[in-house]
């Protein structure tokens, strides 16, 4: 998720990273600062051949990057990255629902900065600040056994960005492993995860078809 502009022609290591691709497919609001002849095909709502100066369009980030590199558009920082939101995040990032704003809040923000969007430096600063503020809480929640507050935990998890959620899962898996070791269940050799999940699905499907058979 490093600034992709910085690594020149090399194929980035996250080329096949799903989260990065999904972040790039999200739409941003763009305004054309020049008119471009015969580019009308990117605006499906209007049936014109050309795109006029001042046209406002919602374009996927990957396309906006191409147009911005040619200096043809300016990008409005979307909700979550504009000044109002930056101030909210600055004040207390832990209460903001990044899943709703993202769910690839950081990856998307990183691309915005990489394409030299206006206020890029402020956005980048806000990303670092937001992540730092929230990281402490993510660590506390994931590395401390808190089975007594499942509701709170659930609400907390629902607010996380996809990369934060990944970190959270990592932490709680480590905790689970240590707990298992303490309770001596780690030695048990188990069926492989996929085998178990396939079995479960089969059982669910069988139950379903049985129910259908009795219904009919």
């Amino acid at each position: 998720m490093a600034a992709s502009g910085a690594n020149g022609g090399r194929v980035p290591s996250d080329f096949a990273a799903i989260d990065d691709i999904v972040a790039l497919s999200k739409k941003v609001s763009c305004r054309f600062v020049k008119s471009v002849a015969r580019l009308g095909f990117i605006d499906q709502s209007a049936d014109c051949e050309h795109v006029a100066e001042g046209t406002q369009l919602e374009l996927p980030l990957w396309m906006a990057k191409t147009l911005a590199a040619r200096g043809l558009i300016t990008v409005d920082p979307p909700k979550g990255y504009n000044q109002i939101y930056r101030e909210i995040l600055d004040a207390d990032a832990s209460v903001v629902d990044l899943h709703k704003l993202g769910p690839h809040f950081y990856a998307f923000g990183g691309h915005l900065v990489a394409m030299n969007a206006p206020e890029g430096e402020e956005i980048a600063k806000s990303l670092v600040h937001t992540f730092h503020q929230r990281l402490h809480k993510i660590m506390d929640f994931s590395l401390n056994a808190s089975e007594d507050t499942p509701f709170e935990l659930h609400a907390f998890k629902n607010n996380l960005d996809s990369c934060e959620l990944e970190l959270f899962e990592e932490g709680s898996n480590c905790l689970k492993d240590v707990k298992k070791w303490e309770h001596r269940t780690l030695d048990q050799i188990c069926a492989n995860d996929m085998v178990v999940s396939l079995k479960k699905r089969k059982r669910a499907m069988m139950a379903c078809s049985e129910r259908m058979a009795t219904d009919s």
Binding site: V128, M139, C163, C174, K180
Partner: protein, 175 residues
């Protein structure tokens, strides 16, 4: 964690056998024996546990486990991690707990050390956040053992990588 325990099982302990085997055992980690009834002999922990399960010996509880209370108090009075007598103290204690019923309770020792470790990670993130450059120096943590790190290691590694990536974006934006 199972691998930490596996490594800990190589630690040498003293046992008092109640059987006779007057040859040496030539193991990868060294030669052990001969075994004579009531004569203390040093063996790897895994062998000791195995023999004890077959009622062929009693394990001599290491000196430091008997001094656990003292260690626990010393840790309680310290803000940093104190040096533990063995690199695998937690794993060894865990293995011993299953054998000896009379193990002192050491959960507060674990808890205290865990909380020191966690706050040092918090401090590390704060340090990275306040640091102007991407390169961080002077990050040291003394007296932490392998088993204790298991809880934090991969979480810290992954979140730090993510944090540095974002910091890198910030550095890029200033150019």
């Amino acid at each position: 964690m199972d691998w930490c325990e596996f490594i800990a099982e190589e630690e040498i302990v003293e046992i008092i056998p109640n059987f006779k085997y007057d040859k040496q055992l030539n193991l990868i980690s060294g030669d052990f024996g001969p075994f004579l009834p009531s004569v203390p002999v040093k063996v790897p922990l895994w062998l000791a546990l195995n023999l004890q399960r077959q009622h062929k010996c009693t394990i001599v509880v290491p000196q430091w486990i008997q001094e656990l209370q003292r260690l626990q108090e010393a840790q309680e009075n310290s803000d940093t991690l104190i040096e533990m007598p063995s690199e695998c103290w937690r794993e060894i204690m865990h293995l011993f707990r299953e054998q000896c019923k009379s193990m002192p309770n050491y959960s507060s020792l674990i808890e205290k050390r865990e909380s020191i470790l966690k706050s040092s990670v918090h401090a590390l993130f704060r340090h990275a956040f306040e640091s102007k450059s991407l390169f961080l120096t002077d990050v040291t943590l003394h007296n932490v053992s392998r088993g204790e790190l298991q809880l934090l290691k991969s979480f810290v590694q992954k979140s730090f990588a993510q944090f540095q990536a974002l910091r890198n974006v910030y550095v890029y934006s200033k150019q």
